[in-house]
Amino acid sequence: MRSDGGQLYTIEGFAAALIMISTAYLVVNATSVYTAGDTHINDMQLETLGTDALTVMGTPMNTTEYDTANSTLRMILEAPDRDVMFRTKFLELVNSSGTGPKQDIQFVANYTCRIDNSDSTIPPLQPLSSSSRSLTGGEHPVRVTKWVIVNTPCGNETTRDRAVLVEVLLWRD
């Protein structure tokens, strides 16, 4: 018959090994700069950056005439070449950090306007602009939005003052 005298020592050995492994795991995890819980901070920074850029574009130069003065975003939406104008202005705001190196932010922008006499249907997305890269599905984009009052037609509709929602998906490449 085999001797079973060392069972307690074996269990103690297992317990000690587990404690040492979990301690090593915690220590290594705590000292790494980028922990698992930090991944959403990037999204927050990107969202704040995009919101700030759209707010800058949506603010008129002269804020004492807030109701009547045109903001950059309104002028872009009413212009025929809004694709190029939006890309230039938006990338100028989000993609450069002073005189330093360019960041690597890419975006796709759309806007939504309501077709008249259709209160119940979901308004369709109208393409506005995008950076050189298109969205492939592997990215991890955040969405920022901005309301603008514009005086444009929507599709085949007549020109009138309307509220449109500009939506920008942006991600780091």
């Binding site: 959403h40 939504t112 119940s120 979901i122 309301w147």
Partner: protein, 116 residues
């Protein structure tokens, strides 16, 4: 029948205590790893910018077509119910008032706005 040996009851009891305390420690450590993530997520979820943005449109424009734009696009693209009374009603003598309601399913915001 063999006589039961009950000499080591204290050791078994202490073993139980230690294992339970390990269990609770593991529970605490398990929660600690997701604390940063849930905090960041709840900050992202809170629609501060959405409310400020739609509010600035509402108080700057007095038009029933723009009111319909705000209803339809908020519901269609932002998953938010936005409602405000229009035309603005006269109140306090020389001002006009409106009630702004915003609900995104998680966050609800109501305001009685008085024109300056």
């Amino acid at each position: 029948m063999a006589r039961l040996n009950d000499d080591a009851q204290w050791i078994v009891l202490m073993g139980f205590l230690v294992s339970f305390s390990f269990f609770f420690l593991a529970l605490v450590i398990n929660q600690a790893t997701v604390v940063g993530q849930t905090t960041a997520e709840s900050v992202i979820e809170f629609p501060k910018n959405d409310i400020r943005d739609v509010r600035s449109i509402i108080i700057r424009t007095e038009s029933d077509t723009i009111q319909k734009d705000v209803y339809a696009i908020s519901l269609g693209r932002k998953n938010a119910v936005v409602y405000y009374t229009f035309p603005f009603t006269p109140c306090y003598g020389k001002y006009s008032c409106t009630q702004i309601h915003f609900k995104s399913g998680v966050t609800e915001y109501d305001e009685n706005w008085t024109s300056p």
